[in-house]
């Protein structure tokens, strides 16, 4: 609040907090390049000769690329599909507002409060009956549905920030709804739409419950890859770290790159 008086206090505090929070990830990355002996050495080793053997073993044991592809396809497809369903709904909620709109939004959010475990058995049975068990389709559908309420909410907030004078002007000019969306709303809310997509991509990529329970061999995502290294040999820390690093690296790097975008879009309508 008064930056010029204590810049060094702020600098030290912020860097300390950031390094502390990041440290577990740093350590995970470090352990991935150790041998199993070095990984559990007492005292812990900060300096060592890095090895790539762990990655070779992970590569030999499991098909990383197939898991990564499944994660990528299911999260990207569910994000696109979700945006296609959520954007019109949010648009209608803002621009064709009825007295029920707020209740509708709240109802949508409340569907997310149902514990997934509660829906597991029915969904499993349905997936089995339709032959979608262990297929990417089931993941795409489930991810889309679980993220849909959040997407509608975020897009609703984004659309609501469009100054209504602009909308009214375009309506007076006789613009069709399609034109209104493309030429007026879309350019003004690109940022909000992008961060909605980004957040849902991250959530879908990191989803573990449904991907572990609905897939096994064909459609297993990176969450499944990690689970296969978790037990019973969870004590092979170097291999576990290497697999974990491979699983999180794509989305973490992606998140770093889109950080600015995310920071701008995470308003959830809380800004006025």
């Amino acid at each position: 609040m008064n930056p010029r008086s204590f810049p060094w206090v702020r600098t030290v505090c912020a860097w300390t907090a950031a390094l502390l929070l990041f440290f577990p990830l740093f350590w995970l990355g470090l352990t991935a390049f150790k041998t199993e002996m070095q990984a559990i050495a007492v005292p812990p080793q900060l300096f060592f000769t890095p090895t790539l053997d762990t990655f070779a073993e992970v590569h030999a044991r499991s098909d990383y690329l197939a898991h990564a592809r499944n994660s990528l396809v299911s999260s990207a497809a569910s994000t696109v599909l979700g945006l296609l369903i959520a954007a019109p709904a949010a648009y209608a909620m803002v621009f064709f507002r009825t007295p029920n709109t707020r209740g509708l939004l709240m109802w949508m959010l409340s569907t997310k409060m149902m514990p997934a475990v509660g829906a597991l058995l029915p969904v499993y049975v349905l997936a089995q009956a339709t032959g979608l068990l262990d297929s990417l389709w089931s993941l795409v559908v489930v991810f889309t549905l679980t993220n849909l309420p959040i997407m509608v909410w975020m897009l609703y907030s984004a659309f609501k920030d469009v100054p209504r004078e602009i909308i009214e002007a375009s309506r007076l000019d006789g613009a069709s709804v399609g034109a209104e969306f493309r030429h007026v709303v879309l350019p003004l809310t690109k940022g909000g739409i992008a961060s909605t997509g980004l957040l849902c991509l991250v959530l879908a990529w990191n989803e573990a419950f449904w991907s572990l329970n609905l897939t096994s061999a064909n459609a297993a995502t990176l969450a499944g890859l990690i689970a296969s290294y978790a037990s019973p040999e969870g004590l092979f820390w170097a291999k576990l770290s290497a697999a974990s690093l491979l699983a999180i690296a794509p989305i973490v790097v992606f998140g770093w790159c889109c950080q600015k975008q995310l920071v701008q879009g995470m308003t959830f309508g809380a800004m006025k």
Partner: protein
Amino acid sequence: MTFTPRPSPGSRLGRWLLAPAVVTLFLWMIVPLAMTVWFSLIRYNLMQPGEHGFVGLENFHYFATDPDFWPAVAHTLQLLASVIAITVVLGVGLALLVNEPFPGRGIVRVLLISPFFVMPTVNALLWKHMMMNPIYGLLAQLWQFFGAEPVDWLTDVPMLSVVIMLSWQWLPFACLVFITALQSLDREMLDAARLDGANRFQQFRHFVLPHLGRSIAVVVMIEMIFLMSVFAEIFTTTSGGPGNESTNLAFLVYKQALMNFDVGVASAGALIAVLLANIAAVFLIRLVGKNLD
């Protein structure tokens, strides 16, 4: 907020635009719910095939009188309250810290939000093994370095361990939302207040905190949605134990379904969990709902 009303085709169009989202979500809610209600009223144990007699509310009675039930409710609420309190307080602090320029601010921000991108399973395994292992874990080593007796985190303080993992995961999210909110803080008002002699605490109390109010409500709401049914972190680390010490409702339902193979009781449990979630939702809507318009 009112717009120039379109003629009636507009509202019909509005309904068409809403339809895909409303219909899919409705199906997603009602179909599993109906099936769960059905399962909860019959005897359905995977270990006893063929017996699907109607048992009325017996399954509900069984689940709710299970000695693990009330502890599980309490643990669910404890998790919610602790993680939300920790992430909101620290999140506001961190967001304020990085809201002003200082050397390396961009890198600090990237480092701060990184844990949010980590999958829950990796988060859980990382903390369970490399951080909290009582012999080789870094925390044990740190404790020993200072001459203290290492803590067997997952056995001695299972709830605290889960709270630490979840807070580590959700703090960056809270931080992100607060950083976003602070960007729209009116600097001139703050400067004026400072010139009038308001100290830092007064500035925070009277300008910054009210400005963050809605964002705090949003963070509470979203974290509540996700934390109410925390599963992966508990499944991967403590498996609800030792005993029932870190079993929340979601995990208790899972235990009934997939460890006791009792679909009927598990479904009853799921419905009870849904009911409790909806009670919480009503309070939430009272609390947060008016902030959404």
